[in-house]
Structures are given as C-alpha cells and as structure tokens.
C-alpha cells in the first residue's frame, strides 16, 4: 500500500534514504535469524536424545526407590534420607548469543551421596540412590539446554516477525511510494515541457 504523501522532490529523497536504512536493517536481521536458527537446530538434536535418555533413566531410578520401599518401611526410608550428606552448588554464568543472555549451569558436588548408616537400610536403596546420583548431572545439563532452547525460540519468533514486517510490508510500501512520486514528478515535467513548447508556438505564430 502506498502511503499518502506529497509528491515532492524532498519527500522522494527522504523516502529513498528510509529505504536504504530498511534494506540494511532487513539484511542484518535476516543474518541474525539465520544464525539463531543454526544454533537452535544444533540444540534440538541434542535435547531430544538427552530428554529421552534422562526420562528413561529417571523412571528406572524411581523403580529402584519403589523396590527399596518394598523392603523398608516408609518411615525408615524417609528417616534415612532426611539429612543429606551431599552438598550441591550450582554455579550460574551467562553466555551471550546475539542479544540473548543464556544461563550456563555448572554443577559442583561435594561429599558422597550416602547419608545413612548400613544398619537400617537395604541395598536396594543404595542402588536406587546411586542411579539417581548418576543421572542428576545430566538433568542439570538438560535444564540448561532446555532453557537455552526456549530463549532461542522466543528470540527467533520475534526476529522472524520483524524480518517479515520489513520484507513484506515496509520495504514494498516504500518502493511503491517512491515509484509513485517518481512517476508523478516526471509527469509534471512532461506537462511543463509541452506547455512551454505550446507557448513558444503561440509566440512564434
């Protein structure tokens, strides 16, 4: 759609400048979108495998606990797990992808996971706990990646909308308006020229 403007030379110059800026912005945004998409695609593959793997192992670990709870009473189990020995520290840094701040998680664990004596607990609980301990670091990595995926997705969506707005609306509109003004100006020039020719004819006549 052509925006309503005065068909003047000044307006034409202004619009041409705007078109230049719009084209440059479009190109930059398109590059940004491509790069985000590339990172996104890399991430998807990793996450999909990882999630399936994690879920599988987690369910196995849960089954281990179920097994342990068959051998021990609930109170005993809760008592055994009530005072954790292990200390986890999650170090949070951020890395930048384009304009995004993506968290990077670094798990630091101290001391072994077993927090109870051998007397009142069953071997099943040991196994279940060690299984859970093993997959826990994977779960943290998964948490980091899923967050990155979500942030990237939101940014891609936003960028795509901007790219489309420039590509399909702003730039064509500017082009159309510029063309309209150019045609109008040349039409004016032609009519002026014929007028001059006619006047010359009359004077000469």
């Amino acid at each position: 759609m052509r925006s309503s403007t005065h068909a003047t030379r000044m307006e034409l110059l202004r619009l041409r400048r705007r078109l230049g800026v719009a084209l440059r912005g479009y190109k930059l945004l398109k590059d940004k979108q491509d790069e985000l998409m590339k990172q996104f695609m890399e991430l998807i593959g990793k996450i999909r495998e990882m999630r399936e793997e994690t879920e599988k192992h987690l369910v196995q670990a849960f089954q281990g606990f179920l097994l342990a709870s068959a051998v021990m009473s609930r109170e005993e189990m809760e008592g055994a797990l009530a005072f954790p020995n292990k200390i986890v520290n999650l170090e949070v840094k951020t890395r930048r992808v384009m304009n995004l701040q993506i968290p990077v998680l670094n798990l630091q664990a101290e001391r072994p996971v077993y927090c109870y004596g051998c007397a009142n607990t069953s071997g099943e609980l040991d196994i279940a706990l060690s299984n859970l301990d093993i997959i826990f670091s994977t779960m943290i990595v998964l948490a980091e990646r899923e967050k990155a995926l979500e942030l990237l997705a939101a940014e891609i969506e936003k960028t795509r909308r901007r790219v489309n707005a420039l590509e399909y609306i702003l730039i064509p509109d500017l082009r159309e308006t510029i063309k309209y003004i150019e045609l109008k100006l040349s039409e004016l020039e032609r009519s002026n020229l014929t007028r001059l020719m006619r006047i010359k004819e009359i004077i000469a006549g």
Partner: protein
C-alpha cells in the same frame, strides 16, 4: 557469576530420593497444584536456578508455568514421576520447536 540452588517439586514418593542429593525438595499433593505455583514464585525470589517439577503437577498449571518460559532464570524442567512419563516434557520441547520453526519438524522425522 553466582551460586544458586536446585529445587524439586513433586509428589511425595517421587521426590523422596532427591533429598539425599542435596537439593531442596518440596513434596506436594498431586491434586493441589496451586501450592506448586506458590512455591515456584517463592523460589524465583530466592534465586533458584533450576526447578524440577513432575509432569502430573505441571500439567495442571501449564498456563501459569508458561510465564516463566522466557525468563532467563529459573529453568523449569518437567520430569516424569514414579508412574512413568506421560510425555509432557517431550511435548513441551516439541511445542517450543514448532513455535520457532513454524513447522513440526519432529513429526517429519518420525515418518
């Protein structure tokens, strides 16, 4: 750079083991999801970086959870509970991909 904590929210039996791993555990009932929301809101203020939540609870507060999706932190991750996975976590990843790419690329790969 800073250190922060990890929380696990879920039904009692599922989250029991996480306690020994040194995470903060919040056992709640499956049919009281509102509690989970209150806990999450509190955790946000206390700079928890990762919150694991079991799928059955997350299912009931999905719309509220989506508020946290595009924040830098916390990262809320769905995990199956001891009844097995209901596929909500995978569904969420797929949903995210669909929004970003515009098409459901996972389904194409499955063909």
């Amino acid at each position: 750079m800073s250190t922060s904590n990890i929380a696990v929210i879920g039904d009692r039996d599922s989250v029991l083991g996480f306690k020994a791993l040194g995470t903060a555990v919040f056992p709640i009932c499956n049919d009281r999801p509102q509690e989970a929301l209150d806990i999450i809101e509190k955790l946000c203020h206390e700079r928890y970086a990762v919150v694991f939540i079991t799928e059955p609870i997350a299912q009931k507060i999905e719309t509220e959870l989506s508020r946290y999706r595009y924040r830098t932190l916390p990262s809320i991750v769905l995990i199956p509970n001891n009844q097995g996975s209901i596929g909500l976590g995978r569904e969420r990843v797929r949903d995210t991909v669909k929004r970003a790419v515009g098409i459901d690329i996972f389904r194409e790969e499955a063909k």
